[in-house]
Symmetry: C2
Subunit: 335 residues, 2 copies
C-alpha cells in the first residue's frame, strides 16, 4: 500500500480508504486507486491490518482427531459458516492429549484468534487453559465433549437421552442381557452415555451387571475387537450391546461374524454417530445420528455471534442439537 501510494502520489490513508470505498474519497481518485491496485497486483497485508484493527478474522478449532468422521464433518460445518461470515479456520489436533490441548490454546491466544471452538481431549480434566481465555476476552465454544466446570458456550447433544433411547430400543426388541462398551469416563459424553444406558436398564427392569460394562479409552477398532471377544466368550452371553461409538460397534459385528454368531439374533448391536460405515456394514448398524455437521455449523454460528455481539451481557449459551435413533438390521432382522 505504501508502494501504491508512492506511485500514485497520494497518501497511504487515501489508498486505504479508497480500497474500502470510504465516502470521503472522491469518485475519481477512488477508481484510479482501485484500478492501479489491480494492475499492480497489489495484495493487502492482513497481518498488518490485523495488528492495527486488533482483529484477525481467524477462528481456531481444536479437535481430538481430524481423521475421525465425526470431527471432520463438524470441522466441515464450522468451516462452511465461518467462511460465509468472513472468517478462516485453523485446525489443531490434540490426539486426545492434554498437553497438546494446552499448547494449542496458547498458540491461538498468542495468534490473537478471534474465537475458539474446541472439543475436549479425553485426557483433559483440568481446564485452566480455557479459563485463561476469559481474561483475554476470546470467546469460546465447546462442542460435543464439554465440561460442566467451565462456564462457556456449548453445543452438544443429549447423550444421556440418546443412550437411553438406544438401550430402551434393545430392551423393546427383547434383549435381556444388555452390555455396554463405554468410552473414557473422563469425558462428559461417555459418562452421559453410560448413565443413559443404566437408566434404560433400570426402567426396563433389567439388572445392571458390572461384568457387562466394558470400559474403553479411545474406542478404536482394536479396543472393539478385544471387548467383543471377551463378551462373546462369556458363559452367559449378552443378547444385546450398546457401543459408545460406531467404530467399536462395527468391530463387535465383525467379531461376531468371525465367530459365527448371528447379529441380531444372537446379539443385537447399537452404535453411536451414524458414520458412513454404519450403513454399509452387514448387517447394517442401528445407531444414533448426532448431526456432526450441524453441530459444527451451530458452534461456528454461536461463536461468531459472540465475537460480533456488542451485547456483553450474555455470558454463555448452550445449544442442544437433536439426535435420533436410526434403526437398522443390527437390531431388527430383515423379514
Amino acid at each position: 500500500m505504501t508502494g501504491l501510494a508512492k506511485i500514485l502520489g497520494v497518501s497511504t490513508s487515501t489508498v486505504s480508504r479508497a480500497l474500502k470505498d470510504h465516502h470521503s474519497i472522491g469518485e475519481e481518485t477512488r477508481e484510479k486507486i482501485k484500478k492501479t491496485a489491480i494492475n499492480l497486483g497489489y495484495i493487502p497485508n492482513s497481518v498488518a491490518s490485523n495488528l492495527r484493527r486488533r482483529k484477525t478474522n481467524h477462528i481456531g478449532v481444536i479437535v481430538p482427531r481430524i481423521d475421525r468422521y465425526f470431527h471432520s464433518s463438524s470441522i466441515s460445518g464450522i468451516e462452511e459458516v465461518a467462511n460465509e461470515a468472513g472468517y478462516y479456520v485453523s485446525i489443531f489436533q490434540t490426539k486426545d492429549s492434554y498437553i497438546k490441548e494446552v499448547e494449542s490454546v496458547a498458540i491461538l491466544m498468542s495468534n490473537k484468534a478471534d474465537g475458539i471452538i474446541a472439543c475436549l481431549a479425553l485426557e483433559t480434566s483440568d481446564i485452566d487453559h480455557y479459563k485463561q481465555l476469559a481474561n483475554t476476552h476470546i470467546p469460546l465454544v465447546l462442542f460435543d465433549r464439554v465440561c460442566s466446570d467451565l462456564e462457556s458456550n456449548k453445543v452438544l447433544i443429549n447423550d444421556y437421552d440418546a443412550a437411553f433411547k438406544a438401550c430402551e430400543h434393545l430392551a423393546k426388541i427383547g434383549c435381556k442381557k444388555i452390555a455396554h462398551i463405554a468410552g473414557n469416563l473422563n469425558s462428559s459424553i461417555f459418562k452421559a452415555r453410560l448413565e443413559g444406558y443404566k437408566a434404560a436398564l433400570i426402567k426396563n427392569n433389567l439388572t445392571i451387571n458390572e461384568d457387562l460394562i466394558f470400559y474403553g479409552n479411545i474406542l478404536s477398532e482394536e479396543e472393539g475387537h478385544l471387548f467383543a471377544n471377551e463378551l462373546l466368550s462369556m458363559d452367559t452371553r449378552p443378547d444385546g450391546i450398546f457401543c459408545a461409538n460406531d467404530i467399536t460397534a462395527v468391530s463387535v459385528i465383525q467379531t461376531a461374524r468371525e465367530r459365527k454368531f448371528s447379529v441380531p439374533k444372537d446379539i443385537a448391536v447399537v452404535g453411536f454417530s451414524n458414520t458412513p460405515i454404519s450403513k454399509i456394514i452387514q448387517p447394517s448398524l442401528t445407531t444414533i445420528e448426532d448431526h456432526a455437521f450441524e453441530m459444527g455449523q451451530a458452534s461456528a454460528r454461536l461463536l461468531i455471534k459472540q465475537i460480533e455481539d456488542n451485547d456483553k451481557n450474555i455470558v454463555s449459551e448452550t445449544i442442544i442439537i437433536r439426535n435420533e435413533l436410526i434403526i437398522r438390521e443390527s437390531t431388527v432382522p430383515l423379514e
Copy 2:
C-alpha cells in the same frame, strides 16, 4: 511487552531479547523479566511479531472436502509434521469449486502464509492463482491432484501404475469384460487412472469398450449407485470393474448385492484409496492403498524444507509415494 517493560523499568528491546534468551542480556535481568512475564500472564502478540519478522509460521492447506477420508488423513499427516516443526495449519475447503480455490489462495497470500499445500479442485484447470504465488515467494506443494502445467513441488502417487496393477489383477483372475468408473478427467489422478486402466486392458488383449467406461464427477455414493445399476443392466454384463475411488466401489458392491449378483463371482470389484469402509464391507474390497497420511507428512516436510531452505537454487521437487494393491474378497472369493 510494552506493559512488562514499563513495570520493570527496562526497555522493550531488553524484554524482547530476554524472553528469547539473547546473550546480550545479563543473567539477572533475564531471569527477572522471565519471572514477571509468567507472573503477569504475559502473552506475546504473534501478529505483531509476524509483521515485524515477515514470517507467520503458518501454512495453509487447501483441500476439496475435509470429510473425505483421504483428505482428512492427509491433513492429519500435514498437521503432525507442521506442528513438530513449529508451524500451525489452517484449512480451506474448496468443495471442488474453482472460485473457492482462488479465494482461498488470495486469503492465504494476504495472510502471509509461509507456504501452501494444496490438492486441486475438480473444477480447476486454470492455475494462474498458483502462478501468482511465485511472485510472492510463497512456496507451494501440490499433492495428489496436481497439475502438469505448473512448475511446483509435488507429492503424489503413480496413479497410472496403480490403476494398471488393479486392472491387471482383474485380468489375471479371469475377467474378460472390465468396466471402469472414472472420475472427473479434468483431474490429473483420474485421467491417469483411466490411462492405466486402458493400458492394462491392452496389455492383456482385452478390447477397450467405451460403453464400459462410466464418466463420473465427484464420485459420490449416488453416482456409484447410478453407474452400478446401469452396468448391471447391460446385456453383456461386465465381469469386473475398476472404480476410481472406494466410495463408488462400495456402491457397486451394495447394488450388486441388492440385485442378487455375487461379488466377485458375477462381477469382481476394485476400489481406490483403502479407506476404512473397504475392510468392512462384505465382501471386503480389493483396493489401492495410497498412503494418504504419509502423503500429508511428505508434503509438509517438503514445504517446510522449501520455506526454510536458503538454497534458492532448487525450484521444485516431485516426490512419488509408494502404493500397493490390497487384494481382498471382492476379487478373490474366500475358500
